[in-house]
């Protein structure tokens, strides 16, 4: 097996035993959130990194997934596991609709980023104002930690679930680097007109990409809701999550398979450090903002690009 393959297998083994090695539930929760953030970041990465469609409103898929499963569970008694499937579908549907609307209108670059922001804002306002989301009060999931309720007494199970999600997302990203669809997305990212000239149905490819990305983020929404047992409009549709999804991918390496994972580890790690040193809000995000600018200015391939350059390889793998 290749060196990279061995490394990956080793990392996987470590990941599997990690929660047992950590002392506290707190530590397990931290690594769980690292994995979860990496998963969400990967969903952004599919659209923003691989296809080059920078979205500022990706939280809209996350929030829709969270609300979908939570409403079904709390108001209609559905099992959260079944609701999870619906959430994935809901995320996909919203991705499809936003994709079709935006791309048919020919929106790209900054305009696309802005319209995704606006969509998220619309959803937030609606969620804040309608009955079935209980508006600003939010939805509370009754704590009943049994596996069939998608709740676990031991947080280690959320860890393994997050690990599974991350592995799935890595698989999807890896598939993109080795498939025709991924090559199409890379071409679209680099030069849309040239992509068209080579027979690529750009509209279709971008829309499918948004659908996949939306489905993933929707899945993340349910996970989050079930872990924290509470959803409200600012959690579900607040711009902070959109920014986090973007930061994690950009800093780790947009368009790479492991970028979001690296980014999530860095960001969460940084967050823990700043939280330990000074209990004030906002400090870690200031650092993230600075890092983002540094990345854009000097390291467009993110932290992963740093490694590639050192080892002499070309920039991040694409098609």
């Amino acid at each position: 097996m290749s060196r990279v393959g061995l490394l990956a297998l080793g990392a996987l083994a470590v990941a599997c035993v990690l929660p047992h090695l950590l002392g506290s539930n707190y530590a397990v929760n931290v690594v769980t959130m690292i994995l979860f953030t990496a998963f969400l970041g990967q969903s952004w990465n599919i659209a923003g990194g691989f296809a080059g469609q920078t979205s500022f409103g990706h939280v809209v898929f996350f929030g829709t997934g969270a609300y979908a499963s939570t409403i079904l569970h709390v108001s209609h008694g559905w099992s959260p596991w079944a609701g999870w499937i619906v959430a994935i579908g809901a995320g996909a549907l919203v991705g499809l609709v936003i994709g079709v609307l935006s791309f048919r209108a020919g929106l790209r670059g900054s305009y696309f980023a802005l319209i995704t922001l606006a969509f998220a804002e619309v959803f937030r306002i609606v969620a804040n104002s309608v009955e079935f989301t209980r508006g600003g009060l939010g939805l509370l999931i009754r704590a009943d930690p049994r596996p069939e309720n998608f709740q676990f007494r031991n947080p280690i199970w959320f860890y393994y679930l997050a690990l599974a999600l991350v592995l799935a997302s890595l698989a999807i990203a890896f598939w993109l680097t080795r498939s025709r669809f991924g090559a199409q997305l890379a071409a679209i990212r680099e030069n849309e007109d040239a992509a068209r000239a080579l027979g690529i149905d750009v509209l279709r490819a971008k829309t499918v990409c948004m659908t996949i990305s939306g489905a993933m983020a929707g899945a993340g929404g349910t996970f989050y809701a079930q872990k924290y047992l509470y959803v409200d409009p600012s959690i579900a549709y607040g711009v902070e999550k959109s920014v986090e999804m973007l930061l994690v991918s950009m800093i780790g390496g947009a368009g790479t398979v492991f970028g979001p994972l690296v980014g999530a580890a860095m960001l969460m790690g940084l967050g823990e450090i700043t939280r330990a040193s000074s209990n004030t809000q906002g400090l870690s995000l200031i650092v993230y903002g600075v890092i983002l600018i540094v990345i854009v200015a000097y390291l467009p391939d993110g932290v992963i690009g740093l490694f590639r350059r050192r080892s002499g390889e070309r920039g991040a793998p694409r098609a």
């Binding site: 071409a187 007109d193 992509a195 080579l198 070309r314």
Partner: protein, 250 residues
Amino acid sequence: MRRVLEVKGLLRAFGGLKAVDAVDLDVAEGSIAALIGPNGAGKTTCFAAIAGFVRADAGRVVFAGQDVSGWPPHRIAAAGMVRTFQITQPFGRLSVLENIMVGSYLRTGDRRAATAAAEQVAVQVGMGAMLATPASDLTVAGRKRLELARALATRPLLLLLDEVMAGLNPTEIGEIVDVVRDIRASGVTILLIEHVMQAVMSLAERVHVLNQGRIIARGTPREIAGDARVVEAYLGHGAAARLGGGGADA
């Protein structure tokens, strides 16, 4: 002889200006044809309209017996008519091989097959040694070749080459001319826009001359070179007379 491309009455106006004014154009299967004309004649607009990148205001484009007027560009490309761009449009951060693979992926979904096909095309245009080079690192000549290779990888019936020789030195031109000939030999029809007369003369079997949006002359390279109207289009009114009369061999 089958006509792989028939353009009738193509019209494209920008405001009041007719960039393409009722252009008729036929290209015989398996041939190499050229579209020439002074700067601003409307050649690239013609290509753009034929290949679907620009909506024609009037006229019909029939490709391989099918009316493709109004088709979106990706559909036309998938049908077998592929254009290159005057200002090269590489996929900058992808390698040469990955660039070409985007083309070969049109015909197969399998990665290994696409890779093999792309490598073959790369060798055909003389880029076999640069497969891993990032496209943004290529010279102008390299980019032109890459543009050609990418289009070729889609296994087109008809290649629309837009000034593929521009910016090349005489040696490079000679090399590309050979490549184009090879491409034709493999069964691809070619229509090229060119300014480099050396290439036009040695490659084209039939030349169409465009000036101010209209076709002003058609014929073999030799006929065109001697045509007074063509000389005047390039060199100005009365130039033909000053140069010793129309009809004389150039």
